[in-house]
Subunit: 216 residues, 4 copies
């Protein structure tokens, strides 16, 4: 086994030491209990890896509240039990069948680089993403059905519309998992679709009755 | 398109409105700039979905600092450009080739349910995880080489050792990606392996010279 | 004086600041008036400490509406003016004689841990609750007359029946307080017995005519 | 058994039906899970019965987060295992030994009628509260040591000071319970003292280093 690893940068060591001397010290009892009793999160959040999205901040979440999966463009692929590795499907399965979360919140956001990549690829402007070996490209294939629905929109609307499609496609795909469908049917699980406008600090949620996103 | 979605619970709406009126309002300029200039994160963090791990808290991270991918047991699969969907590989590719992050930090933790699942499966105590249709089981196959290395340890040491293997296997697999290997070779990227003891608020990092994890 | 106290966890500080910037700011006039004119609640609610019971939520209560006493298993002891400390009796006395509330609502609920403790103690399965030094055990003695009435019910009915007895015993005990009895006789006060099924979101109320609880 | 009870007022029935058709319906999965998995609250809150104090609102608390005991003037009596009924002591015992909460938050507030009663009684202006049969008076005896400390303050400062003493006396008394003292010593429990200015929407917390309350 050869492992390549370097010491953590000093600024992160400093910050960690500061956290340990303050937040950890003041809440040691809670961390101890979390360690001993295990996690009982009430919700799973599926959000983008984007560094500008801090789901714990905008919802004032404490350690232990949200089971958080983050991937490029907050995408959930359709159910496909082919024996291969599916990290997102594994996270959803664990959240629903082992942890019994009551909510799955899909959280999209403005200015999503992954969504833009999908748009560029689907509109023929990013040939490298079309290559078989592009992990980003193949991952963004999940969003292609969403692109089809918005492809004819004016240029200045299409990216935002596609960001919201990333939420909707994920919500649709979630319902292709038998354990999600069953839990929703049994009222053990509810799904929520959100889109966060980073620059404006706004949150919109999908309203099936209106067929669109509405500001909270 | 039929999308199943319900309104966000009221307590989350309240909290978001509170965040918007305070943190957002106080830092609007920064959010605006983040929205306009895009993200320029300095590091990618690969951590577990576990609700008890708040990487932004322990490192006092601001919006824009960390590109965060979270999956079950903070695992990175080996490079496998087969044209299929690989969410983790896509996130790593995007972070290294598009964002040019300087660090990739793999952050493991104590009491990891995914790691325990791998242990139970590999030791024959969880047949359902061995089934082809188990997304969790197939995902945890990534950690099997780690299990082989610690399988003969005493019962009271094996889980913690396997949690650290989850970090090491991921670090090893990261180096099978050509774009990671090249960036590390060119000193454009450094890798870091951490393990967080949740109850004790401690952080250990992998030190290749000692061949083990050392407290920070 | 040595007082042990630590700073409030950061997530609660954040949430409070958010509340202050929104709900408080939007309703400052009402809070100011509440502060200046004192409280004039129309009802007293006696409910359990259980974290799953939010009496203000299910009744959409505004600040100032309900004078709320919460204890283990929503119990009221019988009138016993022995000069000792009786927190529940003090709360009832204050509500009726100082505030002049028009209603006292005793609110029981499903899955009550206190009621289960009483059942276990009375059926000989919890010796530690029988000890003189057990505060929980001695408090639950209040419910013993209720246990006697349901002790012979089938095992799958007894806990729910005892939860409802916790409401009825409290209603009976309330009438042993002279100031309650007088206020009820003078039509200045009415008593109400409710039982909340948490999982089903249902509310049942005691109907003396039928001698049982009936869904609202 | 003769139980005096009347039907719930229509306005409360209406509000409950509205809650059931909206909040409950939208979060049925969470209520179901709360019912099935029991409560795992992270904190106990000891607050006043005062109708103007909504602890769940100011902290954006969801069902399941806070185990809430409410009595007159948020008082905790000293440890006194005499085999009598002690509702507050029972609630603290249950929270610490059965639920294993990580925090106990004592929340005082401005304009507290109970605190004013204690002041009037101790300064000889409320003879009826001195009677043996006054439940309110006997309950407020708990706060007498706090009154002694502030009795010589100017008239316009004494009530506010006594409200804060109600928090401090409770924090001191909490530490007389062996199971509280042990849990604090073992870092399984932390105590917090807060005082809420209702009219101003402010929160102060006790800081032992400064020996006083400081705005959050």
């Amino acid at each position: 086994m050869t492992v390549t690893a370097r010491p953590l940068p000093a600024y992160l060591v400093s910050r960690f030491n500061g956290w340990r001397a303050t937040s950890y010290q003041d809440n040691k009892a809670w961390y101890r209990r979390l360690a001993e009793s295990g996690q009982h999160p009430r919700a799973m959040v599926i959000s983008c890896c984007d560094s500008r999205v801090h789901v714990t901040s905008i919802f004032g979440a404490d350690e232990g509240e949200f089971f958080i999966h983050r991937n490029i463009a907050n995408l959930v692929p359709p159910h496909n039990p082919d024996g291969e590795r599916h990290g997102t499907s594994a996270a959803v399965e664990y959240a629903v069948t082992s942890l019994g979360v009551a909510h799955i919140i899909v959280l999209g956001h403005s200015g999503c680089g992954g969504v833009k990549g999908c748009h560029d690829m689907c509109s023929g402007h990013s040939p490298q993403l079309e290559e078989k070996t592009s992990f980003v490209g193949r991952w963004l294939d999940i969003l292609k059905p969403g692109y089809e629905r918005v492809a004819t929109l004016p240029q200045d609307q299409i990216l935002r519309a596609l960001e919201k499609q990333a939420v909707l496609v994920s919500l649709e795909n979630l319902m292709t998992f038998p354990f999600v469908m069953d839990a929703v049917a049994d009222d053990r699980l509810t799904l929520h679709g959100l889109w966060n406008n980073i620059g404006e600090g706004e949150l919109e949620q999908y309203d099936p009755a209106r067929g669109g996103f509405v500001a909270i």
